[in-house]
């Protein structure tokens, strides 16, 4: 196929992969640290997890700002209307979740009585007070959002691979790190 590919710009591509990298680190870390017995290592991992997560939140805000101020490159015209809607909806949900997952973590921490101090330096405000029941509720919310995120990320990856290897329509290249930058 020799469809002309219009790529995302450098900022969008950099933010996309940075967020992906950090989520791929924060997610397994969250799963792993949770069941550890209390130890200095556990306390350190919890902090690293929170720092990573807040970094994701910051980058996610930047991504949303980029997205509302820029139109993404038009999709190749081989995509059916249904595919276009599906991709659009998935992307919207992904944006929501990369915000909602860290925000739920931040609120959970506050509710559990642990202030989040980004990189041990910048204290974030506690938007909710200490409240045990709320903390447990938010822990479940954080977990559920994460499973939703996992499901959508898997779908997102599957779709990207399908476009690349089956449809061969260059959709993956729009966000690829390699290739010409616009």
């Amino acid at each position: 196929m020799n469809t002309i590919i219009t790529r995302y710009n450098t900022t969008a591509i950099a933010l996309h992969w940075l967020v992906a990298l950090l989520v791929f680190a924060a997610f397994p870390l969250g799963m792993y640290m949770h069941d550890l017995p209390l130890s200095p290592t556990k306390l350190q991992l919890y902090s690293y997890h929170k720092w990573l997560g807040i970094t994701v939140l910051l980058l996610a805000v930047l991504r949303v700002v980029w997205r509302v101020t820029h139109a993404p490159p038009a999709l190749p015209d081989n995509l059916s209307r249904g595919q276009q809607i599906a991709s659009h909806v998935t992307h919207q949900f992904l944006y929501v979740l990369i915000l909602a997952v860290p925000i739920s973590g931040w609120l959970m921490s506050s509710a559990k009585g642990f202030k989040t101090v980004w990189f041990g330096v910048l204290p974030l405000p506690d938007l909710v007070g200490k409240d045990k029941a709320l903390g447990e509720m938010l822990s479940n919310v954080h977990e559920s959002f994460n499973y939703l995120l996992l499901a959508l990320v898997l779908l997102h990856i599957a779709a990207a691979l399908k476009h690349h290897f089956i449809d061969k329509d260059g959709v993956l290249l729009r966000m690829s790190l390699k290739g010409e930058r616009s």
Binding site: L38, S39, P40, T41, L43, Q44, Y46, S47, K112, G113, F114, K115, T116, V117, G120, V121, P123, K130
Partner: protein, 190 residues
Amino acid sequence: MIQRCHMLLAGGLLLCTQVQAVEFKQVLANESSVTFAYKQMGVPLDGKFNKFAAQLAFDPAKIAKAQARIDIDVASIDTGSTEANDEVVGKLWFNAKTYPVASFVSTGLKALGDNRYEATGKLSIKGRTQEVKAPVTFQAAGNRGAFDGSFTIKRLDYAIGEGEWTDVGTVANEIQIKFHLVVKVAPSKK
């Protein structure tokens, strides 16, 4: 000497009694508190001891005779999370089974003026005793008064947190202890 007057309304009599000294002797445990603050991975946290007993004798006019003793039931600690509460009573931290009580026994009190004092005493935790100094303020209102003070200890001086927990990069070595003791006058019966 302080004069105390009570108006007896029924008889319209003014009755004055002389009280030898205002000695604050009775500690109101329910209104008092022993709390602490520390940092974990740069995160400020605080906790408290729910059970402690305090004996005290304090007459603002006779500082040299002031005495205080506070016995803390270390197992009554509340660090703010159940997981940590279970951990810190254990061997590596307070070892509450072997050392159930932490105590402060005063050795002296110095008046700094303006209701401010400096208390010195011996703090014993987990079988280790260290001299501590704490600035204290005392505010009296009627027959009640309140002491407020704080001082900072290094937890490793008392072996609070052994083994892997000696890592002060995770749980800081400095622990600030704050106390608020509400006291009442025990009028002398002379």
